[in-house]
C-alpha cells in the first residue's frame, strides 16, 4: 500500500478545548507530520455546528489519504456527534463514489480509530471500534486498525508528553503506529497490545477516581450529594 501524503485527524471529544482524545490524536498526528505527511485537524463538535464547518469536514475527509479518529467512549459506543459525522461522511462519499470499475483501480484512503474510556479495562471499547470498522468499510475506506485505551483519566486532558512514564506504553504504541501508518501499513498488533496495557493497577485507579469525583463535587460547591436521586 502506498505511503500517505496527507493525514486528517478527527477529534471526537465534545469538549471545546483540551481533552484526552485530542491529546492522543495530536500526539499521533505530530509523529506523522515528523515523517513528512501533511496534517490537518478537525474538531467534530465544532465543525458540525455550522454548514461551513460541515462542508469543510466533508471536503477534508474526501481529500485525505489517511483519516484518524480519536474519541472517548460514550455509553458503550461513539458520542452522538461522531455518529452524525459518520452518517454525513458515508452519505457524501456514496454520492461522490466512482463507478466500480474505476474504484477497482483506485487505492482507498485508510481509516484508523483511537478509543479511550474512563474504565481501567480496554474491553469496554471493543464494540465502539467494531462500529468504526463497519463505518470504514461502508464509507469506502480501508480499515487500518483500532487502538483501545483504558484508564483514559490518566491523561487528564493534558498533552501526552507531559504525562511522562505513566503513559509510556501509550506513547510507544502511538510511535509504533505512526511509523507503520506513514509507510502505508496498518496499525501493528504490538501497538494494540501496548495501548491496552494499564499503567496503573485497576484498584488504585478506581480509588483515585472515586476520591476525585468527591473532591470535584466539593470544589464546584454542589449543594446536593453525589448520590442524589432527583427523579426518584
Amino acid at each position: 500500500m502506498r505511503r500517505p501524503d496527507s493525514a486528517l485527524l478527527l477529534i471526537g471529544s465534545p469538549k471545546p478545548g483540551s481533552s484526552s482524545s485530542a491529546s492522543l490524536g495530536t500526539y499521533l498526528q505530530e509523529r506523522l507530520a515528523a515523517r513528512g505527511i501533511a496534517t490537518e485537524t478537525v474538531v467534530l463538535a465544532k465543525a458540525l455546528k455550522t454548514d461551513e464547518g460541515t462542508q469543510a469536514l466533508l471536503g477534508a475527509s474526501a481529500a485525505a489519504d489517511l483519516v484518524v479518529l480519536s474519541f472517548p467512549l460514550y455509553v458503550d459506543s461513539l458520542p452522538a456527534h461522531v455518529v452524525r459525522a459518520f452518517e454525513l461522511i458515508a452519505e457524501s462519499r456514496a454520492e461522490d463514489a466512482p463507478d466500480a470499475q474505476v474504484l477497482g483501480a483506485l487505492e482507498q484512503p485508510r481509516f484508523v480509530a483511537i478509543c479511550q474510556c474512563g474504565f481501567p479495562e480496554v474491553e469496554h471499547n471493543r464494540v465502539a471500534l467494531e462500529i468504526c470498522a463497519n463505518f470504514a468499510r461502508t464509507a469506502g475506506f480501508d480499515w487500518a486498525g483500532g487502538l483501545a485505551m483504558g484508564a483514559g483519566g490518566l491523561i487528564g486532558d493534558r498533552p501526552l508528553r507531559e504525562r511522562g512514564g505513566l503513559l509510556r506504553s501509550v506513547t510507544r504504541a502511538l510511535d509504533l503506529s505512526a511509523t507503520e501508518l506513514a509507510d502505508g501499513r496498518p496499525v501493528p498488533a504490538e501497538a494494540v497490545r501496548l495501548m491496552s496495557r494499564t499503567a496503573f493497577p485497576a484498584f488504585a485507579y478506581r480509588f483515585v477516581a472515586n476520591r476525585g469525583w468527591r473532591a470535584e463535587l466539593k470544589k464546584r460547591g454542589a449543594v446536593t450529594p453525589l448520590d442524589a436521586r432527583p427523579y426518584a
Binding site: S13, P79, F119, Y231
Partner: protein, 212 residues
C-alpha cells in the same frame, strides 16, 4: 415495577421520516403494549431538540443526577428513571444506534453514579436508582442483512448496554427492510415475549434475528 401502578414503557424512536419498516415496528410495539395495559411514553427524537452531551460531567459533580443544560436532554434521565421498560428503535447505523437515538442515550449518564466499582471482571458505574427497568432494542437493516456484520455488532452493543444498565430482562433484534406488517408484528411479539411481555404473536419470521 410497582405492582399497583400501570407499568410505563419509554419508546425512544431514533428513526428518520423515511424508514417505513421502523415505523411499522414502532406502531406494533406501541399497540401491543397499550393493549397490555402499559402506559406508553412515546418519544420521537427527530422532532426534539437535544444538544449533544457536552462531556462536562456537571450531571455528576455540579447538579448530581441532573444534566446542567436545560433543553430536552435533561428529560432523558427523568423519563428513563420513571420507566419500567426502555425501548430503543433505530436504523442499525454501522452496527450502532443512529445519531438521533444516540443524542438521547448520551444523556443517560446522570442515571449512573460516578463511582467506579468492580463488578465481575469489569469496572462499572453503579446505578443511581434502585428501580430496575427492562430493555428492548430493535433495529432495522436493509433486506437480506439480518446476519450482517452490522447486525452482529448491534446485538453486541445492546448486550454491552445491558451489562451496564443491568435490566432484569433484555432482548435485541433486527428487522429487515421491506418486512410487511404481519412479519413485523410477529417479530415484535417474539421480542416482547423474550422480556416477559405477553403478546398474541409468538412465531418468529425468517426476517428476524433475535438475541440472546
Amino acid at each position: 415495577m410497582t405492582p399497583t401502578a400501570r407499568p410505563t414503557a419509554l419508546l425512544l424512536d431514533g428513526g428518520s421520516d423515511d424508514d417505513p419498516t421502523l415505523a411499522l415496528v414502532h406502531h406494533a410495539i406501541d399497540e401491543t403494549l397499550t393493549a397490555g395495559s402499559w402506559d406508553v411514553d412515546d418519544w420521537c427524537l427527530r422532532r426534539e431538540t437535544i444538544a449533544w452531551c457536552a462531556g462536562c460531567f456537571g450531571c455528576w459533580v455540579k447538579t448530581p443526577g441532573m444534566c446542567v443544560h436545560t433543553d430536552a436532554g435533561r428529560e432523558v434521565a427523568a423519563r428513563v428513571a420513571r420507566s419500567d421498560l426502555l425501548v430503543y428503535l433505530t436504523p442499525v447505523t454501522f452496527g450502532g444506534y443512529s445519531s438521533e437515538l444516540k443524542k438521547a442515550l448520551d444523556h443517560l449518564i446522570p442515571i449512573l453514579l460516578p463511582d467506579l466499582k468492580k463488578t465481575g471482571s469489569d469496572t462499572r458505574h453503579p446505578q443511581r436508582y434502585e428501580h430496575v427497568h427492562d430493555l428492548l432494542a430493535v433495529g432495522t437493516v436493509p433486506a437480506g442483512e439480518a446476519d450482517s456484520a452490522e447486525a452482529r455488532t448491534f446485538r453486541r452493543l445492546v448486550e454491552r448496554n445491558a451489562m451496564n444498565l443491568r435490566p432484569s430482562h433484555w432482548a435485541a433484534g433486527v428487522v429487515e427492510g421491506g418486512a410487511d406488517d404481519r412479519e413485523v408484528r410477529l417479530a415484535v411479539g417474539a421480542l416482547l415475549g423474550q422480556i416477559g411481555v405477553a403478546s398474541p404473536h409468538t412465531v418468529m419470521p425468517v426476517s428476524l434475528a433475535v438475541t440472546p
